[in-house]
Symmetry: C2
Subunit: 475 residues, 2 copies
C-alpha cells in the first residue's frame, strides 16, 4: 500500500491541499496533523469578532472536524509534528497522550502557518496584553473588553476554545482605554474594532506613517480617518514598555506614560518553520520555506504552502514572503493537485491587499511605493491623483486617491495603491490584473473601463492616474 | 496662416478634441460648430434627472460656453454643418441667420454623435410620447410627469432649454402610468426613474430577456429586481402601437391595450452621419464612420470620433460600433492630440458597460454571451457561477453572478458579465483589463486579487468563475 500524503497543519493551506488531493485521488489516504484544536478558520475575521460585527466565534469557522471527516481526510487534532525527516520519508509526531510516533509519507506538506511576533514585549504574563493571532486571542480580547457582569460566554461558542483563558480575561473590570502597538493591518483594523466597543484608543506607529507598504497617500488618509473617529494616532512614536503589575496599567512611549488597561501588540508575524529545523530544507527571505513553482521544497516530496512558505513575486520574479489568505488557499490547493498527479503551479503573488478603516477603503498591489520599487532594482516614477469615484452630479461621489508606480525605462506598471470611501478597495483588482499581465502605464491608460454615473466617472480614477503618470514618464 | 482645425459637434468627442488640440497647439485655431444650443453634457445622467436624484438640469452640464471660450476655442452654436468637402477641404455651414458659408480646414473632425431611433413610432406629434436623447427630452419628460400645479420650472435651469416644449409638457395633468418600449439601458434606467416618480410602469421588451448583450444571468436578475420593485415586465412582447389623440392614452402590445399616459421609446440609437453623405467617406457596421487607429476616415485629414464613429474591438480586432461615453471622450482627445502633431491611437473598445437597476448592479465586457462569441467566429464555452461578494460571516455579503465566456481552442477569455447588489459593477473592470491583456481563463484563475472580509471572500467571484470555466475547458 502506498504511504499516505501527510499534511502538517489544518488551516487554509493544509486543508485546501488535503481536500483537493482526496477529490483527485479517492483511492489514496491523506493524514492531517494539527497540534491545536482549531482547524480552518477565518483569521482575517477576528477583528470583526472583537468589534462585535460578527456575533459568534463559530461564525469564523470554515470547516468543522466532521466536514473534514466527510471528505475522507484522516484529521488528528492535538498531534504535534516535531520533525520532518526527508531521509526516511517520515514525520515525527507527538500524540495527545504524550507518546511519540513516526508516520511514513509518500509526500508531505508543511502548512504550519505563522505566529505573531511581539518585539520586546512579553504578552504572555500580563493580563490585558495580547497579540491577535487566532481564535483564542480573539475570544480572550473580547472577554477582557466586556464588563464582567455583562459578558456573554456564548460569544465564544466553540468547544475548542481555551475556556480557562477566556474566563480569566472576562473576570477583569472592563477597560476604558487601549493602546495598539503597530500601525499595520492588525493595528488599523483593531483601532476600528476597539472604538466600536467604546474604548479610548491610542495607536502607536514607530515609523512616520501608518500602513507603510500602502504608501504615503493611503497612510495619510487612514490617519485622518482614524483621527476623525477619535482614535489618537501617535506616528513616529515607539512604545518602550507596556506597564503594569497584575494587569496592564499603561504604556510608555515618546517619553510619557499613557494610562490604558488593554494593550494589543500588532508588530508582525513570522513563518512557523520549527518543524523543518534540521531537515536540510532551505529557507528564503524572512525565514519562509523556499519552494519551487509547484510548492516543492529543496527536499523531494516535501512541499510547503501558506504563511510558512515563500512565493514568487509577479513583478520582480524574485522570491518573496506574502502571508495572505488567498495565497494560502491557492497554494495549498495546487499542492494537493500536484501530489495527486496533476502538476499545478502555486501561482505568483502580486502582494494585493485591501484594508478597511471605518469608512475608508484602501488597497495596494505590487511595488506600491517608489522606495519599494527602487529597492527591487527599478528606476521608479510615481504619481498620485485625486479623482471622483462617480460622476460629480451623482450622489455618493467621493474623492479617490490613486497612486501608480512605473519603471522609467520600460514604462511598465510596477504597483499602485488606492484609498477612498466609495468602491475604492475593489478597484485595486484592476491594477492587480494589469500587473499580472505586465501592462505598461500607456496600456492601462487605454483600458476600456466601465462608466455609468452611479459607479464611475467617464474617466475612472485609475485611468486618470495612468494618464498623469504616462505624461510624467514621457517628460 | 494655417487653416483652422474644424470640429463638427460640441459634445464629448468634439470638445475633448478641441481642448486637447488647443493645449498642445496654442498657436493654432480651432473652430467648433454646434447646430444646437447645448454643449458638453452628461447624456448618461438624464435618467437620474428624470428620477429626481439629480435636482437641476444644469448639474448635467460639463462645460459652459464661457469655459470653452476660456480654453481659446472658437465655439459657434446654432451653426449647422451641412456638408464636408474633402476635395476643397471646406465644410459648408448654415448660420443662425439662415445664410450659408464655407469654412476651410486644415483638418476636420466629425463628432456629430447619434440620434435616437423610434422604430415604427412617431413620438414627435403625440403629447406624452418621448425618446430620451438629450437634455431637451429629459426636461420635457420631467415636466410632463409633474403635476402642473407643482412643477418647478427651475428644474430646467439652463438657458438653452426648449422652454416652449417644456411648458407644453408641464401643462398636461400628471400621468399615472407609463409604458417603456425597449428593455436596453434606457429602458431599464427609466423604469427605475419612473418608479421613483411614483408611476405605474410597464416595460416592454420584444425579445425574451432584458439587456440582451449582458446575457441570460444578468437579464433574469434584472427582470426579477424590476418586478420586485413593482415594475410590470413584459418580455417577448412587441408594442404594436402607441395610442392616443391629443395625448398618449395607451399602448397596444401582445394583443391587448395597456392604458398609460406616458410612453418612452428606447429602442436604440444610430450614428448621425448625414454630414458626410456624398463626401465619399466610408461607413462601416451599423452605418458608423469608418476610421483607422488614429480616428482618420477614408478621406485624408477628415477624422471621426464619438458616437458617429466605428471603433476596433479589443477581442475580435474587427470594426465595431460601441457608442459609449468613455470612447467618445478618449477618441476625441486622441484626435485632438494627433491633429496637434502627437499621433495618438484612439484605442480599442472592449464593450465594457455597467448599468444600475435599483439595487442591482450589472456589468458586461467583450463577447459576453456564447451567441455573440459564436457570431464573431469563436468556438465558445461559458459558465455562470453564483458566489458571495464578501466573506459569508461579514454583514452585507450578497450573491454575485459571474458569467465568463472563453474560446475552446485557445482558452482565451472572450467576455463576461456580472450581476449582484454588492460592489458587483466595479468588478467588471477586472475582466475588462484581462480582456485587453488577452489573458487566458487559466491566467485569470491565477490572478492575485484582493481579499479582506468587508470587500471580498478569499476566492473572489471572478476567480470562482474562472476556476469553474477552466475545468469545463479541460473536460
Amino acid at each position: 500500500m502506498t504511504d499516505p500524503f501527510v499534511v502538517v497543519g489544518a488551516d487554509a493551506a493544509g486543508l485546501s491541499a488535503a481536500s483537493k488531493f482526496r477529490r483527485e485521488r479517492p483511492d489514496r489516504d491523506v493524514v492531517v496533523f494539527e497540534r491545536g484544536q482549531f482547524i480552518s478558520y477565518a483569521h482575517c475575521g477576528t477583528p470583526y469578532f472583537v468589534e462585535g460585527r460578527v456575533s459568534r466565534l463559530s461564525d469564523l469557522l470554515s470547516l468543522s472536524p466532521a466536514d473534514v471527516d466527510d471528505r475522507g481526510i484522516d484529521l488528528r487534532r492535538g498531534h504535534e509534528v516535531t520533525a520532518v525527516d526527508p531521509e526516511t520519508k517520515t514525520v515525527h509526531v507527538q500524540t495527545p497522550g504524550g507518546t511519540t510516533s513516526e508516520q511514513p509519507y509518500s509526500a508531505a506538506l508543511v502548512a504550519t502557518g505563522a505566529h505573531a511576533v511581539t518585539g520586546p514585549f512579553d504578552v504572555s504574563e500580563l493580563a490585558g496584553a495580547f497579540t491577535l493571532h487566532g481564535l483564542n486571542d480573539a475570544a480572550a480580547i473580547d472577554a477582557y473588553i466586556a464588563d464582567p457582569d455583562e459578558y456573554d460566554p456564548d460569544r465564544a461558542d466553540v468547544a475548542a476554545v481555551d475556556r480557562d483563558r477566556v474566563d480569566r480575561a472576562a473576570a477583569h473590570p472592563a477597560p476604558d482605554a487601549a493602546a495598539i502597538v503597530g500601525g499595520g493591518y492588525v493595528g488599523v483594523e483593531m483601532a476600528e474594532a476597539l472604538r466600536g466597543r467604546g474604548l479610548d484608543v491610542h495607536l502607536f506607529q514607530r515609523s512616520e506613517r501608518l500602513l507603510p507598504p500602502f504608501g504615503a497617500a493611503v497612510g495619510d488618509r487612514v490617519a485622518s480617518t482614524l483621527t476623525a473617529h477619535d482614535v489618537t494616532v501617535h506616528t513616529g512614536t515607539s512604545v518602550d514598555a507596556i506597564l503594569g503589575g497584575d494587569r496592564v496599567e499603561g504604556v510608555r512611549a515618546g517619553g510619557r506614560t499613557v494610562p490604558v488597561e488593554l494593550a494589543i501588540v500588532g508588530v508582525g508575524i513570522e513563518p512557523a518553520t520549527a518543524v523543518v529545523d534540521g531537515a536540510g530544507i532551505d529557507c528564503g527571505p524572512h525565514g519562509a520555506i523556499r519552494t519551487d513553482r509547484y510548492g516543492e521544497t529543496s527536499e523531494p516530496d516535501v512541499y510547503a504552502a501558506g504563511d510558512c512558505a515563500a512565493s514568487r513575486h509577479a513583478v520582480t520574479g524574485e522570491e518573496t514572503w506574502m502571508p495572505l489568505g488567498l495565497t494560502a488557499n491557492r497554494s495549498g490547493r495546487a499542492v494537493g493537485a500536484t501530489v495527486g498527479g496533476d502538476p499545478t503551479p502555486v501561482g505568483d503573488v502580486a502582494g494585493t491587499a485591501v484594508v478597511k478603516a471605518f469608512e475608508m477603503e484602501c488597497g495596494r498591489v505590487g511595488l506600491a511605493t517608489e522606495t519599494i520599487a527602487r529597492d527591487a532594482g527599478f528606476d521608479p516614477v510615481s504619481e498620485t491623483v485625486t479623482a471622483g469615484s462617480r460622476s460629480g452630479y451623482y450622489p455618493g461621489a467621493a474623492e479617490t486617491d490613486v497612486t501608480l508606480v512605473a519603471d522609467a525605462d520600460s514604462g511598465r506598471l510596477l504597483g499602485g495603491s488606492i484609498a477612498g470611501t466609495d468602491h475604492a478597495a475593489v478597484r485595486i483588482d484592476t491594477l492587480a490584473t494589469a500587473i499580472h499581465a505586465e501592462l505598461s502605464v500607456a496600456a492601462v491608460e487605454r483600458l476600456d473601463l466601465a462608466y455609468a454615473p452611479p459607479f464611475s466617472p467617464v474617466w475612472d480614477p485609475v485611468l486618470v492616474a495612468a494618464k498623469v503618470l504616462r505624461g510624467s514618464l514621457e517628460s
